[in-house]
Amino acid sequence: MLICLKNVTRVYKVGVERIHALAGINLEVEPNEYVAVMGASGSGKSTLMNILGCLDRCSGGTYELNGRDTTRLSSGGLAHVRNTQIGFVFQSFELLPRLNALKNVELPLIYAGGTTWLARRTRAKEKLERVGLAGRIRHRPNQLSGGEKQRVAIARALSNNPSILLADEPTGNLDSHTSRDIMMLFDELHRQGQTIVMVTHEEDVARHAERILHMRDGKIISDEHTGDRRLTPEDMEVDDA
């Protein structure tokens, strides 16, 4: 079992009011699954994402990642988990503007430590090649298109060979054509064995996953396995039309 959530709750205090963003989530994810989390805004899907990514702690329940309980870890311990087990892809890319593509991808490797300058560089180049940006490693974010920026972000997320790739609306800031390319990249990564958990509100995007969770009011209301029905590019053409 890669991810195991048991009765996870997350309560925010806003003034005197208590908001139950997650109200008892039970979830298990196996290695190499491709999961999409859907739901309206305020349904708790972002909170779930933050918990899965060890950016946030649950108020109750337990979260085991790779068989290790994360609920008792210090903030330094959580940082280590994020560094070694999790790769984030954000809607707005979150690249550091003053660093070129290569340096951005190297960032998690620097915080991991224990690698030489050359090893970091080689690894970062390899990841950039994998997302198809071999020719643009010296470019800064402002010299790259939206799709290219997201590819750099994906390369960065992959740099430490994470157990899970967490994507939060990865196509939210992209046009449909670029979105399709990015989704094909995700499909490709999944085929190579990468576990992916993705938050989206677009049906088209969710349809790439093998398993779709629907959330409402902090609960998972449906969990459907759609099987291995990755769309071919030809299908996408039809969809767009």
């Binding site: 950016l55 946030d56 979150e94 915080y111 430590g113």
Partner: protein, 420 residues
Amino acid sequence: MLRVLTAPLLFVALLVQSIRLALGQIWANKMRSTLTTVGIVIGVASVTSVIAALTGLRAKVLKDFETLGTNKIFIVPHWPREGKFRHFNWRQIRFRPKQFEGLLERCPSIEDYTLMTDRGQTVYHGVHSIDGARVNGINPSWHRIENRSVVAGRPFTLMDEENGWQVCLITPDVRDELRLDRDCIGRRIVIDRRSFQIVGVVEGRVKGGMFGDMGSSKEVFIPFETAWRLWDPWIYAMASCRKPELSKEAQAELRFFLRQSRRLGPGDPDTFRLEVIEEYLKTFNKMAMAITAVAGGVVGISLLVGGVGIMNIMLVSVSERTREIGLRKAVGAKPSAILLQFLVESVVLCLFGGLLGTLAGQGMTSLIAKIPNASLDMAYIPLWAIGLSFGFAGSVGVFFGMFPAIKAARLDPIEALRHE
């Protein structure tokens, strides 16, 4: 085990990365960074130039003393106001020449000594006269202790001394004031109704030093024996030790010797005093320290103000880069890594200020050195002062950068990533 090995490597990698980031940040905000460091620049510039001025002054004083001779010891009578000496009078306290017999044999650290008398007297040559000229009785060894050359005629010899001849050496100022010719050797002048033959002209005292004239430049020298026979005067002695380092030993030997020759009992206080030029140097050093302390206070205040400026700009930097901090945390930066990054940035900023300040200080020092008649022409910034300035600037960076850095390190990654 592996963690123990890789931890220092990680720290170095983070440090290098942080330094590069900090330099990039300063370069990207050139104007802002420069303005921010003004406080530090002023602080460092003032501390370096004050130290430079004091160093220059000290070098000047030392040089003055060097011409006076740092290895000289003055031996003067002293009347202790206690014990049995309370009821003595000055005639019993004063030195007698025979008390110094055998001094050189008994005091191996002493190279030479001369007995001296010192009286202010009126000197005549025909109708011309000088009131209050200094008439000094000296031994021939005086010429070896004082490095004052005889510019005309000859120095004193043992013959002058032993025969108690009425001969004299004069300084050029005396010669000029008495309207004597340049070639005045063999002429006679009158001191205390007695005629003295001029045998030589000895150069005057060093003038224009830190301490002004160090006494009159109108000096007449006569053999000590002559002075002793004529006037039965008040005497003192001047000795030189073999090396300046031997000063302490020389003083101990002199004290032992004089206590014996003056027949002082074991419990009696000294009836003489040994005065060393170094004592004056110590006084100067105390004064310099007082000035440094005052300047240090001023510098402290400007560094404090500068530090507050640094803290302010670092807080701005943290809030400007909240999203960046969030992202760094999301990809696995520990709070300590973020702390290090911002601390390094503030330290680098302060060191940059320190660099500008040192350059400004150098400029000010060059200006100070050009002030006429201020005895500061030897001012320079010693290396340790530069080290000290950078040390202070760095400490200010750590101290005032700590709060913003802690603030950054404690940011919640989710909040930070949501920050606009």
